[in-house]
């Protein structure tokens, strides 16, 4: 019991001691051209998804939620714990719950453009705000453990790249600190939009580790850990990354 409680406190203390300015967004590691793409909404392809999201929003979500600007601040505190359903959920899962529980509509597949469109639109409302997820236990500790666990055929942990080797080069790209402050984001490598889950899947595949499913507890816990680790950093959604 004592050991269990000590871990999260230690982790929290470590994060509270460093301010947002001590952390580097993936934006800072991107080339001037990639940054320029993100800086100009008229040149950022992610806004094609935002536009799609606006149409979907007014065609259903607005009935209950009103203007989408009322979603300001929401994405910045996700993943969040849902007391009623007793589970931790990402913005994408929350949107899908509104579909199934409130709209009698089927959930979107995790990589459906419509889900990306809606989560980009909801995320955009928090752009410029600091991330502020609550370190809910036991998910936070589970996420932290996953971040440090050696996985896959390469037997590497997330931390080995995103803490120990952040800033170093790997096969032509700079290893970023691995912050989730821009999702969903437009990735040049994908030639399209993708969620944080898609990004994690890429990294898991990279070390040839078993990939957990999008609705798994592991995926949500890891997302929570990454977000709390980045708390205080500014939401860039929808970001552009190489």
């Amino acid at each position: 019991m004592i050991r269990h409680a000590a871990v999260p406190i230690l982790i929290l203390a470590a994060f509270l001691s460093i301010g947002a300015s001590d952390r580097r967004s993936g934006y800072d590691d991107a080339s001037p051209e990639t940054r320029a793409m993100q800086d100009d909404d008229a040149a950022n392809p992610a806004f094609l998804w935002v536009k799609q999201g606006e149409a979907l929003w007014s065609g259903g979500c607005a009935n209950c939620h009103g203007d989408v600007s009322l979603m300001r601040g929401v994405a910045a505190r996700y993943p969040a714990f849902d007391l009623k359903r007793d589970r931790l959920m990402t913005v994408e899962q929350r949107i899908n719950l509104c579909r199934t529980d409130h709209m009698a509509a089927p959930a979107y597949a995790w990589d459906d453009d419509r889900l990306l469109a809606l989560s980009a639109l909801v995320g955009l409302q928090s752009r410029g705000m600091p991330l502020a997820a609550r370190p809910r236990e036991p998910f936070m500790s589970e996420g932290a453990a996953l971040f440090r666990e050696r996985m896959g055929q390469l037997n590497m942990s997330c931390a080995q790249c995103h803490e120990e080797r952040a800033g170093q080069r790997l096969a032509g790209s700079t290893i970023p600190e691995g912050h989730p402050n821009g999702y969903p984001e437009y990735r040049l490598e994908w030639q399209g939009m993708g969620s944080l889950y898609r990004r994690l899947r890429n990294c898991l595949n990279g070390v040839r580790a078993e990939v957990f499913t999008p609705d798994s507890r592991e995926a949500a816990s890891l997302a929570l850990f990454l977000t709390v680790r980045a708390n205080g950093m500014i939401v860039e959604t929808p970001a552009v990354r190489p």
Binding site: S31, E33, T34, A171, E189
Partner: protein, 140 residues
């Protein structure tokens, strides 16, 4: 129809080994066809590409002509190391303002990219760039 033996051998070679990339010679031939009898000089047209390309799937490119002595008819962009040698052709109409276009292109590898501008007075102008591609475009 009887094909000369040499042509047959060449055809067979093309069929057996599908050529994967354009070549400088191919681009050269296309430019010669485009330019025809006109003089081709370096200058006037600008081809802006990053020196270091982070991801070949989307490379910011700008082509422009500054202070043309005669209206710009078109700008043609060629890539010597892509699967296909032609990237884009831009023709400027009467409602065009500054003769400049920005877009994003795919680059399969580090290579020479060439822009040719054709002016109404018949002159043709050339610029080139040698971007270094660290992560190539997904072209398999």
């Amino acid at each position: 129809m009887k094909l000369p033996r040499r042509r047959l051998v060449a055809l067979a070679a093309v069929a057996a080994v599908p050529r994967a990339f354009a070549t400088p010679a191919e681009v050269d031939g296309l430019i010669r066809t485009l330019v025809g009898e006109s003089p081709l000089k370096d200058g006037l047209v600008h081809l802006d590409l990053p020196v270091l390309v982070e991801n070949g799937n989307a490379v910011a490119m700008r082509v422009s002509v500054t202070d043309p002595p005669s209206p710009v008819e078109s700008i043609h962009v060629f890539a010597e190391g892509n699967p296909l040698p032609v990237v884009a052709v831009f023709r400027f109409g009467p409602r065009s303002g500054v003769p400049a276009v920005s877009t994003r292109i795919r680059l399969a590898t580090s290579q020479t990219v060439i822009a040719i501008a054709r002016l109404r007075d018949g002159t043709c102008w050339r610029d080139s760039a040698e971007p270094l591609v660290t992560l190539a475009a997904c072209i398999e």
